[in-house]
């Protein structure tokens, strides 16, 4: 399937910002099941300083603000071709050893909530258990737009009983690691069938299963990713795969607006 994507992120500041930087992970990955046919990110109110590929093979671009700008707008757009592989991403590759994905992070530390979740998990084959886990999390953490804070941990979401896709992914990663499966966070795009203008960027989890390789789990939608899912950035948790990480001087307040269009070519 070919998807055409246009993702606009705009920050309006209520006072001039003397200096600011943003680290972008907004370029979809090219790998076996996904070809990036066209992709550009354009910046107004700032300029691209440099680009590199990080240890997770994410394309990272560093943007600096124009001095005293009152806005920064990032427009990423392009065409990506995706094969449906029933959620199977493929064998582990790259500079990061598989064991790193066993590592607990602050956002994915397993506490009482995750342990309680695992007690309800039936015995069985690893893959079946992971699917069961996904459903358990879907029940335990009700999807609610704007329900959580971007800094929430997996345990925060379990305690609150609500969250967004980011929280679902964190809970899944935390529980999968507790089961002994390496796991990672994926940020990306999803084409919801009934609309062109999507609500937000999406996030899901991947876990490595011996003999199969990396497998994706979208807890929020209760499925494994198919050809409507575009993988953009991966990492141990949201912190390493976030589309934008920023730092700026001054005390200006900001107004963030996002518009995302994903449609089939």
């Amino acid at each position: 399937m070919q998807l055409r994507i246009r993702h606009v992120t705009r920050y309006d500041f209520d006072a001039p910002v003397p200096f600011g930087l943003q680290q972008l992970r907004k370029t979809p990955k090219s790998f076996r099941n996904q070809k990036v046919l066209e992709w550009t990110t354009e910046v107004t109110g700032g300029r691209k300083e440099l680009a590199f590929e990080d240890c997770h093979r994410n394309t990272v671009e560093l943007v600096s603000f124009e001095p005293n700008t009152d806005h920064v707008e990032l427009v990423s757009s392009g065409i990506v071709e995706i094969a449906d592989t029933s959620g199977i991403v493929g064998p582990h590759e790259g500079a990061v050893p598989l064991w790193l994905f066993d590592r607990e992070t602050d956002r994915t530390a397993a506490g009482a909530g995750v342990k309680a979740l695992l007690r309800d998990l039936p015995e069985g084959e690893t893959l079946d258990r992971l699917h069961a886990l996904s459903h358990l999390i879907h029940e335990a953490v009700t999807y609610e737009t704007g329900a959580s804070d971007p800094d929430w941990t997996a345990e925060d979401a379990l305690k609150a009983g609500r969250g967004v896709c980011q929280d679902h992914a964190h809970v899944f990663i935390s529980a999968a690691r507790a089961l002994g499966c390496p796991a990672r966070y994926v940020s990306g795009y999803l084409m919801m069938n009934d609309r062109e203008v999507q609500e937000a960027t999406h996030a899901w989890a991947e876990t490595h299963v011996d003999g199969i390789g990396w497998v994706g789990f979208d807890v929020s939608n209760g499925i494994s990713p198919d050809a409507r899912y575009v993988r953009v950035a991966t990492g141990l948790d949201y912190g390493e795969a976030a589309p934008i990480i920023g730092s700026r001087t001054g005390t200006a307040g900001e107004d963030l607006s996002v518009r995302l269009e994903v449609s089939q070519q």
Binding site: L50, A95, V96
Partner: protein, 472 residues
């Protein structure tokens, strides 16, 4: 009573060859004149402003490190063997760092367990797949050595991330040249004064490929409250480069630039004395005010060389230390020339049991500690201290290693009652660049001033000496 090897006087009372000349000189000197010289030397240090801060006191206290005027002397032959061992070790450390951040062959080969890396806070995953210019991660190294016999040297630790103390090595020599010029005409001593020039050359040779013209080098300091601030400003001054703090730098034009009167100027090589965690708030600790946002991105894009490289700490971690003989053999194909002190890793239950049974005999150190803080010296500790350490060991065994108490060699210091032996160690300073390895002859000798004390750290009341390596 343990017998200690004295570097000056043999058991039969005769002077060992390297010390004959200084022994003769001391015998002929007037003690009152030497006392006056000792006081004069202290005054020189006080005026130079060379101080360090002692942590863990109610108020950070600025102190002079005591200086002893009797040089510590190493023969040409002894040094040749030592420097071969140091070079082998430093090459292996860089090869290990390259491997750990790439294919991890040493883990695949089963020579270092993956958990040693996986659970280590000094391991920086962001460095995976990163190859700095010349594949050099540690450019400036200080290998701590102790001596237990005429031909027995042990490595105590490898300071691969930020070895400090080189300013003392240079100031000690300069003071001795000023105080006792006659000594240096009677004895041919290898010079150390070209260290700053070599440091600059070594850093410049490590510049990234995109450097245009002569590389611009700068020294990054956390600021005046850092215990080694004097050294940072001293080295910048001696190299003739800028001393900068995080807020002087900014990413612009894809480079890390410093503010100058002519605008922003790109830095090619940054000798940083700021720890990894605080280097870049955008990539590491977001609360750091000491670093430069985005510097790691510039590094990844090949726009700057950071010396030493981020993530170097995985090589001088005290738990990794115990694998160094294997590491040297794995990458050099030869046996390690320098010996390691036998080390018990308390993470291992059998080792922990042994350590708990023998606490009064052992030295116990924190895996990530330095500066002699948070360590237990069994033979010198009180029952209460041992009981407290036993509890700490049981609570977090993985945080500790233990070693036998070594019979550190002694050298003479000048006391009220003449020369008296005191325990000593040695930190030689090593520079690594694509042009090769350069070791300054000698290094920093740290000496315990208290009779019988085995702790030489300045923060624990140690002093320093000028260290001589004799010409052939």
């Amino acid at each position: 009573m343990t017998e200690f090897f004295d570097e000056m006087t043999a058991p039969d009372g005769t002077l060992r060859a390297p010390y004959r000349e200084i022994g003769r000189w001391f015998g002929e000197e007037d003690v009152a004149r030497l006392r006056a010289k000792q006081r004069e030397a202290e005054e020189v240090f006080r005026l130079s402003g060379i101080t360090f801060n002692v942590y863990g006191k109610a108020e950070a206290e600025e102190r002079l490190i005591p200086f002893d005027i009797i040089p510590r002397i190493i023969s040409h032959r002894e040094w040749q063997k030592l420097s071969r061992g140091i070079e082998q070790r430093v090459q292996a450390i860089n090869a290990f760092l390259y491997d750990i951040y790439h294919r991890q062959e040493i883990i695949r080969a089963g020579r270092v367990p993956a958990e040693m890396i996986a659970r280590n806070e000094a391991f920086l995953p962001q460095m995976l797949g990163v190859a700095p210019p010349g594949d050099i991660y540690t450019h400036i190294v200080g290998i701590d050595l102790v001596r237990t016999g005429p031909d027995e040297f042990y490595v105590l630790e490898d300071n691969a991330r930020t070895p400090s103390g080189v300013s003392y090595m240079l100031e000690n020599r300069e003071t001795m040249l000023k105080m006792f010029p006659e000594l240096f005409s009677a004895t041919k001593v290898q010079a150390v004064s070209d260290y700053p020039r070599n440091l600059h050359r070594s850093l410049a040779a490590s510049a990234p490929a995109m450097t245009e013209g002569d590389p611009t080098v700068a020294v990054l300091t956390p600021g005046i409250y850092n215990s080694a601030y004097y050294e940072h400003s001293f080295l910048a001054d001696q190299m003739g480069v800028e001393l900068v703090e995080g807020h002087d730098l900014r990413v612009t034009g894809g480079r890390v630039c410093m503010r100058t009167t002519q605008g922003y100027k790109p830095i090619d090589v940054l000798y940083r004395r700021v720890d990894d965690e605080f280097l870049d708030p955008l990539n590491f600790n977001p609360d750091s005010a000491l670093g430069v946002p985005g510097i790691f991105d510039v590094y990844r894009a090949g726009g700057i060389t950071i010396a030493n490289a981020p993530g170097t700490g995985i090589a001088d971690d005290k738990a990794i230390y115990s694998y160094l003989p294997d590491i040297v053999e794995f990458y050099s194909g030869e046996k390690a020339i320098l010996q390691n002190v036998p080390t018990w890793r308390c993470a291992d239950p059998d080792s922990l049991a042994y350590v708990l049974d023998n606490l009064t005999e052992l030295v116990v150190k924190e895996v990530h500690g330095s500066g002699g803080y948070g360590m237990l010296i069994g033979p010198a500790a009180s029952k209460r201290e041992i009981a407290a350490f036993r509890a700490k060991l049981k609570a977090r065994p993985g945080n500790y290693i233990a070693q036998p108490t070594l019979a550190l060699s002694t050298v003479p210091i000048f006391t009220r009652s003449g020369l008296a032996p005191r325990h000593v160690d040695l930190r030689p300073f090593v520079l690594v660049s694509p042009e090769g390895v350069k070791i300054t002859p000698g290094g920093l000798s740290r000496v315990a001033l208290k009779k019988g004390s085995l702790v030489v750290n300045s923060s624990q009341g140690g002093g320093t000496k000028d260290t001589w390596v004799l010409e052939d």
